[in-house]
Symmetry: C2
Subunit: 417 residues, 2 copies
């Protein structure tokens, strides 16, 4: 086991015991302090970030990825503002979730407590650094960060500022650590460090998530892969259906809650598909369809393959399939979906009820865009990610999902007979 | 990937969609039916079990393990009764956990749903077979069982009865499956089958749990390893403390919530240790102590090594250490404990508060025996195990802990701006 990583883990665990005891006021004061210091020292961050950006460009990084990597004054202001927003959220720690007095007089409370040490593994987006620090610390957790090596200088600058702010507030610096070697062994060591790490959350694309899931013995929360569907039922209001499909596909195509496949009831395919196609083509969307879709829309629509039903395009491409009805739509979704966000557009009560009951996904929608699956939109405040697994948390994960609970049992000498 | 196991997984997943839709009445009817059929066909089970027991004895299995393996009419009656008790518990599925109406009119409910497919890996205790079937099906899950090869014939007979009962009630037989090859590859395949298995729960000793944790890419709930402590503070009622320590150590020494190390405040060590030792020796407990303990209790107490602080004896052995106070007791527990059940005996409010806040464990007790950490004792009804990890469920896991949730979002054409 990598000694450096082990030492980071050991110190983070020690720090986590201090964090777990902090009052809400102390945590909020730190977050606001960090927001202030981040803004004061923005030049320092931007300077280091420029070097990362130059290197990335020299290495031929894609434009869209360089855009995510680059920090401006505006982005730093947004990061600071994000910290202040997290400070303003209610503190989940200490909540008594439920409780009871047992017949033998034992008083049992289930009390919300921090997870302990959270490890976050992510890609070249330095805003995730500050974002993760804010959420983890507010929930009383120490955090170990492992960003992309292409953002290393930016992350170093940000973590230095965070550790300085911790020191200023009299808190243990090891509450925030950054793994810096850039080596793969470092990640592997982190993923095996069960003694010190309570959960690892990968934030990024399918490949990153898969690597983590396959190699971790530490518990993982899988996030973010969304092969989402909109199913337009034969009873749908067609104009509403077009609006929802266009929104779900094009409002922000690069994110996990965007729609990737459109399913259409055969009873309305001939009337609906031309309307939808026109609106989607106007937005520059490429369609790939099943034979029935192509029979209606013509050669402009490329043929969809099995691969298309499985693909999260994250781009202006939409697979289209005509189905016999809600039953077949549900079967398609449960077979090809990633259990993220799924929508039906319908005016039929029974179809809506069947869809929400039988589709196996974190979020199921009736007559609304899949784009709403988001901590902010769901009223949780900032989110650390969207879980697509069923254990622990499902769907958007806010502060509460970064906690666990303990049973506190108060007795007066009870023994078990 | 093992084709047989893959096929079992595929069918279990299909069955899980049917189970998820069942009403409480249908599930209860199945459980009561299974209880009846199990009792009617007890000879069949006992006959197969006899062969397992004979083989185990021929192979020199330890007496205590053979006892766990052997089924009698009484044990089968208990298993049937257990099924009826689970049938009588409230159904967790369908509960609306919380909900809200958002400013844009979206109505969001967080609804409790089954996990899907649960895999249970366990040792040579055939009662776990029926127990797991009862709990998983009541929570709406399909279950894949993998017991010890030394209980294979018993498990085959039990699972055959369960599948027959499913058929009788018009339910898919693949709701219950047993892996039967006895090969290690089978377990490895199960642990990697992310597409079909939603959670794997190992029920057994530290070695089994470790194997599962190290090899699974399917999400795991770790259960059951308990290196539990009782700390006797200087303000403790000494007689109460003796009763609690004796109960926690000896009432059932082979289980995970039994006490393995006694920590004693130095201020009362001289008065308390002789009292405790006498009571424990009367029960046949062997003590292993730190130098201070041995200075007080003498040579009869073997010297405790670092290994002793780490050991879950599951036997009539108790490690004993004198500590400076609650602070040192907490540090010892957080270092050597397995986050299961930890108790303080004290009359001091501040010490009690500090202990429950700072000890990192699923259950923390004031003035009560650690032996109460149990689904039944906590008022949850039957339990599938006691989680010692922080993700998903912590402490005793009943029916509710065998579920997850989905967000159901009802709209009227909302799109995201």
């Amino acid at each position: 086991m990598d000694e450096v990583v082990l030492e980071v883990g050991r110190k983070a665990k020690q720090a986590s015991f201090v964090l777990a005891k902090l009052s809400t006021l102390e945590k909020n004061a730190f977050l606001n302090c960090l927001a202030d210091v981040l803004w004061e020292r923005k030049e320092e961050v931007i300077e280091e970030n420029k070097k990362d950006v130059q290197d990335a460009e020299a290495k031929g990084m894609k434009r869209s990825l360089v855009d995510r990597l680059a920090l401006s004054e505006k982005r730093i202001a947004d990061m600071a503002e994000g910290l202040r927003e997290v400070a303003a959220l209610p503190d989940p720690v200490g909540e008594v979730i439920e409780g009871t007095k047992r017949p033998n007089g034992l008083i049992i409370s289930k009390v919300r407590v921090p997870l302990g040490v959270c490890a976050i593994i992510y890609e070249a987006r330095p805003n995730v650094t500050i974002d993760s620090i804010g959420l983890c610390i507010k929930a009383g957790n120490a955090v170990i960060l492992r960003g992309s090596s292409s953002a290393l200088r930016s992350n170093r600058a940000l973590v230095k500022i965070a550790r300085d702010a911790l020191k200023t507030r009299g808190l243990p610096e090891d509450a925030v650590s950054l793994l810096q070697s850039g080596k793969h062994e470092e990640v592997n060591a982190l993923l095996k460090m069960r003694e010190y790490v309570d959960v690892v959350i990968p934030r990024g694309g399918a490949e990153l998530i898969n690597t983590v899931v396959q190699n971790a013995s530490v518990p993982v929360i899988e996030t973010g892969v969304g092969n989402c569907h909109v199913y337009v039922d034969c009873s749908a209001d067609l104009e509403q259906a077009v609006r929802i499909v266009v929104n779900a596909k094009t409002q922000r195509p690069s994110v996990c809650n965007a729609c990737e496949t459109l399913l259409v009831h055969e009873g309305i395919a001939e009337s609906f598909l031309p309307l939808a196609a026109q609106a989607l083509w106007e937005k520059g969307v490429e369609l790939r369809g099943c034979p029935q879709t192509r029979a209606i829309l013509g050669e402009k629509v490329q043929e969809a393959t099995e691969e298309d039903w499985l693909t999260e395009y994250l781009d202006l491409i939409l697979a289209v399939r005509v189905v016999k009805g809600v039953e077949e739509a549900i079967a398609h979704i449960n077979r090809y979906g990633t259990k993220h966000s799924e929508a039906i557009v319908t005016s039929d009560y029974a179809a809506a009820k069947k869809f929400v009951e039988e589709v196996d996904a974190a979020s199921v929608y009736v007559n609304a865009s899949t784009r709403f699956t988001d901590g902010g939109q769901f009223g949780m405040g900032a989110e650390i990610g969207i879980s697509t697994q069923k254990l622990h948390a499902r769907g958007p994960m806010g502060l509460r999902e970064l906690t666990t609970y303990k049973f506190v049992v108060l007795g007066s000498g009870q023994i078990r007979e």
